[in-house]
Symmetry: C2
Subunit: 221 residues, 2 copies
DNA sequence: CGTTGCCCTTGATTTATGTCAAGTCTTCAC
DNA sequence: GTGAAGACTTGACATAAATCAAGGGCAACG
């Protein structure tokens, strides 16, 4: 991921050359080894991040130490950028690398001061934020109104392309389970049932959708 | 709620006199009777709203017709304002009056065009949005990581003031149950248990917190 | 009044999902 | 290749919450 590619990402696309240079000059690159923490919930937030390579999990912990994964960041995605507009400016989640990763850290003040003079940029951010909120709303919907199998089937359909019916899970089943707020045992059983019903084939991280229509129908029942 | 009060609300506080006049001149007031719908999920969105009096529920429906209340809007609150920055511009939820209500509808284009020239205003909106996202994140946390009784106790503690230990529920228990994603029967049983444990007293919509510390402790177990 | 409708409660039962425990399979280091 | 650690699966069991069903209380209304 080079400078030109970064420049095209939504948070930067509306910047002019000078603004972009300023932002990228003040950015800091760093490498993370697997399981290395980037920040913790409650910490004071001075930067937002772009993932260049690897995978980062954003998660919450319950008092009993149970982990709920809020999001798995993939290369090219920004994260923790909403924090810079919040009072208090504290990270609302924990962030840890799942695998070896490279991130770019951008200074909140630098970006904010650009926004203060550039309505085009703020519209881009506003549109990003409203998309995000829509996303979270859907997540709340699924958690509140739908069963564990619904959520898993939904996940499968979200991650399968139009043409190919083969899915290559990029994260472990445990991690998916946590994202969907299911226990790994339950996920395993749901997958077993889908297999026995002839809806999918599964081999490790390779999952093949055999009957897409029938899967969609599961969402309605 | 008069013009001066409206002017002080966060989405308008950063507007100058001329901008505010433009916004308020193009607004439309309307009255809703109980159970009257304001908009439906998926409808094209041209306005956002301020609730002047009454109560509005924002909710989603599952395929089986089950209702999940996302939010109960109280007087002085805006709603559906994030939609104006989204592509597609469709309402992501349904909105229905719970009781007789008055709303003010503001034109998305008018407000958006002001933002395009007024960085101060967009910062105010950005800060509002990030606060909202934080809220939603907490809701996801509670749904994913915590039990029904946790959610109800949390709700009680959120709605009790520092000084008074008396809570006057402004909405029905059914409605609260739907907001917390609990069935009414379950809510009734949770309340019964809290009563029998001597933590609260309850009479209809009047709930009195008897032991605040013990209630807080329930959140940790 | 009485009755109608709604909100709330209570009891009995079911069900989805979690928990605990054990075992297999895979990967990867040495 | 061997061993260790982690990922995944499976079975037996426990449990929170949903569901189904019935009844009580209360306000509104003729």
């Amino acid at each position: 991921m080079n400078k030109d590619e970064i420049r095209k990402l939504h948070l930067f696309a509306a910047l002019d050359a000078q603004q972009f240079d300023h932002v990228s000059e003040t950015s800091v690159a760093s490498k993370l080894v697997p399981h290395q923490n980037l920040f913790f919930q409650g910490e004071s937030a001075s930067h937002f991040y772009l993932l260049v390579s690897g995978q980062i999990k954003l998660y919450l912990l319950s008092p009993e130490g149970e982990e709920k994964i809020i999001d798995i960041i993939q290369p090219g995605q920004f994260f923790a950028e909403a924090v810079m507009f919040m009072e208090g400016q504290r990270y609302p989640v924990n962030a840890t690398a799942l695998v070896e990763s490279e991130v770019l850290a951008f200074d909140n003040h630098v970006y904010r001061s650009i926004i203060e003079n550039s309505p085009r940029v703020s519209l881009a951010v506003l549109s990003d934020f409203s998309r995000r909120m829509h996303f979270m709303l859907n997540e709340i919907d699924r958690l509140a109104l739908h069963s564990a199998s619904y959520r898993f089937v939904y996940y499968l359909l979200e991650n399968v392309s139009e043409e190919e019916s083969q899915i290559d899970l990029v994260i472990s089943k445990q991690t998916i389970a946590s994202q969907l707020s299911i226990k790994p045992e339950t996920l395993s059983r749901i997958l077993k049932r889908l297999r026995s019903e002839g809806l999918v084939e599964a081999d490790g991280r390779q999952i093949k959708i055999l009957d897409r229509e029938a899967l969609r129908a599961v969402l309605l029942r």
